[in-house]
């Protein structure tokens, strides 16, 4: 190795060095110069250095934007005064009340946004001022959420980025930063347990456990930029975005008028708003613990209907359980019952349908689906009985054939004895 280095060795390192310099040059020129970042990154005070450090992950950086595109100033200047020259448009840090306009400088400009992402909405700022946050901000209240409260600042990620503070799985925690703080909310006389309650709900289970991103979080019911609680008379519309069937049935049921008159918040009156639990059949009926009892008096038309619906539903459940039970018994005993088990699902479908139809408050509607459901469950039970009968038939058949088989074996044995006796005698 030494000998070769003497002859041609010096050329190779020089070439490598030259290539490296060329590469660095190319890389460096690809990044636009930003003296803001170069300087701020080196500062000791985290309040000044964090923005520069966070900006690496920012979605705006990915689009070729930098500090000066929001804050103004000259990124090519190398001194602090030159870079932060108001003459060069330097705006500095905006006041809280100015933040929506600050972001809206670009985000409300349709012509500008078209150049980056034509499908992005450009009405966030105007929508924001319809929200409770926006309205309060207009009155001078500083302790409200603005753009950066939810989207963060300097390290802003796209909504579809799982690390974004506004990714569906992270929204509730982002809102909780303020709305979960009891001291903070006291000033506004708002409770602070919404997020905790939400996380016990069936929607949260779908979202966090099953990773079903279509499940609702805060912004799906409250809106995001125009965040405000829906009015009492329009709750059903909001829930009805997904639960269309139940909402339709409710709107045409006698409850709609009654609830509006009493000022009851439609769906929420029975299902609650944040801690929406999986509904149970206990909620309906005339017995203690049912929700109907809260408004209805004993013996009135409503509660009689509720009791009837509950009875019918319980009937179907009992029938399904009975059939399911007997099919399991048959299966455990070795019979093949996968088809009847599949068919029994039709009865469970009917049960689900019935549970949806109670929102109509109409016993005839519920009866219309319970009846075929009972039929299917009955067929399943019969299939179970048939399977057990077939099993019993096989066992009897086995017993009979075993008797014959053993008899035959015995006869053969006797034949052997007979033959060998004769053979012995003949000898």
């Amino acid at each position: 190795m030494d000998r070769e280095a003497h002859n041609t060795g010096f050329l190779a390192p020089v070439l490598v060095a030259a290539l490296m310099v060329l590469a660095l040059f190319t890389v460096a020129s690809a990044q636009k110069k930003s003296s803001c970042i170069e300087c701020h990154v080196k500062l000791n005070d985290p309040r000044l250095s964090n923005p520069a450090k966070l900006f690496d992950n920012d979605v705006h950086r990915g689009r070729g934007l930098s500090c000066n595109d929001c804050h103004g100033g000259d990124p090519n200047a190398d001194t602090s005064e030159a870079a932060k020259d108001p003459g060069k448009g330097y705006l500095g840090k905006p006041r809280t009340v100015d933040i929506p306009a600050y972001c809206g400088k670009c985000h409300s400009d349709a012509n500008l946004m078209k150049k980056f992402n034509p499908s992005l909405r450009v009405d966030q700022e105007s929508e924001y001022y319809t929200s409770v946050h926006g309205r309060l901000l207009k009155t001078g209240e500083q302790r409200v959420a603005t753009c950066i409260s939810c989207h963060t600042v300097h390290g802003i990620r796209a909504v579809s980025d799982p690390l974004s503070s506004v990714y569906p799985l992270n929204v509730a925690d982002t809102c909780a930063k303020c709305h979960g703080n009891a001291d903070y909310m006291r000033a506004f006389k708002i409770p602070s347990d919404q997020v905790t309650k939400f996380k016990t709900s069936v929607h949260a289970k779908a979202l966090y456990n099953k990773q079903d991103l279509s499940a609702p979080t805060c912004n799906d019911c409250h809106g995001n930029h125009g965040a405000a609680p829906p009015g009492i008379a329009s709750v059903a519309n909001v829930c009805g975005q997904c639960h269309a069937r139940q909402a339709d049935l409710f709107q045409t049921s006698p409850h709609k008028a009654a609830f509006d008159q009493k000022g009851l918040a439609e769906c929420i009156a029975c299902h609650s708003n944040h801690d929406i639990a999986t509904p149970s059949d206990q909620m309906i009926g005339s017995q203690q613990g049912a929700l109907c009892v809260n408004c209805h008096t004993n013996g009135d038309k409503g509660i009689t209907a509720a009791a009837h619906m509950r009875t019918r539903i319980d009937e179907l459940i009992a029938s399904i359980n009975k059939s399911s039970e007997i099919l399991s018994v048959a299966e455990r005993k070795g019979m093949e019952v996968s088809k009847p088990k599949f068919d029994l699902k039709g009865a469970t479908d009917a049960l689900t349908h019935a549970r949806v139809l109670i929102h109509s408050s109409s016993t005839s509607e519920v009866d219309k689906v319970i009846a075929p459901g009972l039929e299917v469950a009955g067929k399943g039970y019969q299939a179970g009985l048939d399977a057990l009968a077939e099993l019993s038939f096989r066992r009897k058949g086995l017993a009979v054939s075993l008797v014959f088989i053993l008899f035959l074996a015995l006869l053969v044995y006797l034949k052997i004895r007979q033959i060998e006796t004769r053979q012995r005698i003949a000898k």
Partner: protein
């Protein structure tokens, strides 16, 4: 002398009692052997005769008769162990899809008003190509092949 037994086919006629016992045993043996053989052959013959349901798997099924499904309507049918939905569009075309919603497995239905396939559980919508166009469903519905055979509509896996 080697202890070999004589040829057992040598017919030594014994006393009448022994003879009748031998004949009885032979008779019993014969009949029960035939009976056992019959008990073995009978299930085999039954096994080999075609059962009520002819084919095991439903890679294709008769979903409906042509006159059962008017224009702009849908019908649920059983496809193997899963439900399917047969739709006749406005233009008279027949389409078939898996009826299992890709969100949470509810059974979808045809909505003549919107001319879309709709899932009642959480308001999911699919267009007539099976594509999920609104609501929670994350994936399109699996599409099946539709053919007509006489007056029967036959649906088979794509």
């Amino acid at each position: 002398m080697k202890n070999t037994l004589p040829d057992s086919t040598a017919r030594t006629i014994g006393p009448p009692a022994v003879e009748s016992r031998r004949r009885f045993l032979d008779y019993l043996l014969g009949t029960s052997a035939v009976a056992t053989l019959g008990a073995i052959v009978y299930p085999i013959i039954r096994f080999m005769s075609p059962p009520k349901v002819i084919e095991s798997t439903e890679s294709s099924v008769v979903a409906a008769k042509l006159n059962e499904i008017p224009v702009n309507s849908g019908k649920i049918f059983k496809f193997g162990s899963k439900p399917g939905i047969l739709v006749r569009t406005d233009s008279g075309e027949l389409k078939a899809f898996s009826a299992v919603c890709t969100h949470l497995d509810c059974i979808v239905q045809y909505q003549p008003e919107t001319k879309q396939i709709w899932c009642a559980c959480h308001n999911g919508h699919y267009n007539l190509n099976g594509k999920n166009v609104a609501g929670p469903p994350p994936r399109p519905l699996e599409e099946f092949k539709v053919n007509t055979r006489g007056d029967e509509i036959v649906v088979s896996k794509a």
